[in-house]
C-alpha cells in the first residue's frame, strides 16, 4: 500500500525550476532518507508532501488525498502527516506540554486530560518528562527537537516528514535525536527524512533517494549498495566528498 505518490511532479519558483519530473512512490511503513547537495530540492520535495509548498504540475497523492486538487483540504492531510523542522518551530508562547497537546485538542477535538496523559507518555519516550512545564526558550536544541518529534507523534500521524532535523544541533545533541527517530522507525512509522546523517541513512533507512538540481538521480532499496557503489557520477562525487575528509 502506498502512502505517498509523486507522478511527474514539477515545481517552479517563478522561473527557477525547483523540482523536475519527480516520480516516487513511498509505501506505508517505509523509512526513506533523502540526501543530496544544498539547493538540490530535498526540502522542497518534503514540503510539498504536506502542502507547505504547492506543486506546479503533475500528480501528488498523500494518504489517498490529491494534493494537486485545489479543493483538497490541506488541514486534513496535515492532521495525518507530521513534520519536524530543522529549526524546531516550537510555539514560543506555549510550554513544552502545551506544544504537544495543542494540536490534538484543537484540531482533533480530543479531551484534554486524555491528551495530556498521552503527551506525558511521549515526553517519557523522548526522555524529557522533567521539562514538561518549561518554555521552549529554556531548552537546548536537542531537547527542542525531541519535543518537536513528540508534538508530531501526538497527532498519531500516518507519516512523519523530517526536514534536516539534526542540522541545527550541536554535535553532542545529534545522537539523542537520532535515537528517538530510530525508535519511531522501529514502530513502523512511515518516515521521509531529509538528512546529512549518512550513518542514520545506512542504519535506519529502508531506502535512499539521491537528489541533485531538482531531480531524483538515484532511488535505491539497497542502501549499503548505494553508499559502496553509487551509480550516477553526481552521487559518486557527493559520496566521495562526504567520506573523504
Amino acid at each position: 500500500m502506498s502512502m505517498i505518490e509523486f507522478h511527474g511532479v514539477e515545481k517552479y519558483y517563478g522561473k527557477f525550476h525547483a523540482l523536475k519530473d519527480i516520480n516516487l512512490t513511498i509505501d506505508r511503513g517505509e523509512v526513506v532518507t533523502v540526501i543530496g547537495p544544498s539547493g538540490s530540492g530535498k526540502s522542497t520535495l518534503l514540503r510539498t508532501i504536506n502542502g507547505l509548498e504547492h506543486i506546479t504540475e503533475g500528480e501528488l497523492i498523500v494518504n489517498d488525498f490529491d494534493l494537486a486538487d485545489k479543493h483538497t483540504d490541506m488541514n486534513k492531510i496535515r492532521k495525518n502527516v507530521g513534520m519536524v523542522f530543522q529549526h524546531f518551530n516550537l510555539y514560543a508562547n506555549k510550554t513544552v506540554l502545551e506544544n504537544i497537546t495543542l494540536g490534538p485538542t484543537l484540531v482533533l477535538h480530543r479531551p484534554k486530560d486524555e491528551v495530556q496523559k498521552e503527551a506525558m507518555a511521549l515526553l517519557d519516550m523522548v526522555g524529557l518528562v522533567d521539562q514538561a512545564h518549561k518554555f521552549p526558550a529554556a531548552l537546548s536544541g536537542g531537547q527542542k527537537q525531541r519535543v518537536a518529534i513528540a508534538r508530531s507523534l501526538a497527532m498519531k500521524p500516518r507519516a512523519i516528514l523530517f526536514d534536516e532535523p539534526t542540522s541545527a544541533l550541536d554535535p553532542e545533541m545529534i545522537g539523542d535525536v537520532l535515537d528517538v527517530m530510530q525508535k519511531i522507525a522501529k514502530q513502523g512509522m512511515t518516515m521521509v527524512v531529509v538528512t546529512h546523517e549518512m550513518g542514520f541513512a545506512q542504519r535506519v533507512g529502508d531506502r535512499i533517494v539521491f537528489m541533485a538540481d531538482g531531480q531524483i538521480l538515484e532511488d535505491s532499496r539497497d542502501v549499503k549498495g548505494f553508499f559502496e557503489h553509487p551509480q550516477e557520477p553526481r552521487a559518486q562525487e557527493f559520496i566521495s566528498k562526504i567520506f573523504n575528509h
Binding site: L52, G82, K94, S152
Partner: protein
Amino acid sequence: MFSIITDHWATLCAGLGYTLMASLIALVGSLVIGTAFALMEISHRKWVRLIGRAYVELIRNIPLLVITMAFFVIVPMFIVKVDGFTAGTIGLTIYTSAFIAETVRAGIESVAVGQMEGARSVGMSYTQAMVHIVFPQAIKIVIPPLGNQFINLVKNSSVLAFVAGFDLMYQAKIIANLTFDTFDTYLAVGVFYLVLTMPLSYLMRYLEKKWVTA
C-alpha cells in the same frame, strides 16, 4: 493659571470629557479597523493585499485635519449631516487606524515564519494558528509602539477644536477669547491633557512589563 482653572472648571471638565470620549471611541475603533487592515496587508490574495496597502498609504499620507474636514464638510453634503464631534472622532479613528495597521502588520511579520508553519503542520487552520500562536507573540512586540500611537491619538484629538467638537482645545479657544489670558489658558489645558496621557503612558508601561517579560 490657577484662577483660569478655578474660574472655568466646568468648561474645562466638559472639554476633558469630550476629549476623553473621542479618544476612547477612536482608540477602540482604530484598533479594530487597523488590525483588520493589517490582516488584509498580509493576505494571500493579491487584491486583498492591494486594498489594504492602498488604504494605509492613502490615509497616513493625508493630514489629519484634511481627513477630519472631509467628514465634516463633504460627507454632510452627500450622505448625512454630522456634528463636529462625530466628524472629528471618525476622522481621528480613520487616521489613526492607518498607523495602527502598520504597527500591527510589523508585529505579526516579526513573529518568525516558522511559528506559523509549525502550527499549520499539525493541521491548524490559518485562523487557529493566528489566534493561538502568532497573535499572542505579536502583541508583546506591538505593545510599546501601540502605546505611542494611543498617546498620539489622545493629543491628536485636539483636531476636534477645528470642527467645533467641544473638546479641551475647543474650550481653550473659548476661554482664551473670554479672558484674553492666552498663555495661562493653554498652560492649564496642557495640564488637562497630561491628566489623560500620563495614566495612559503608565498603563502601557505596565502592560509592557506584564506581557513582554512573561
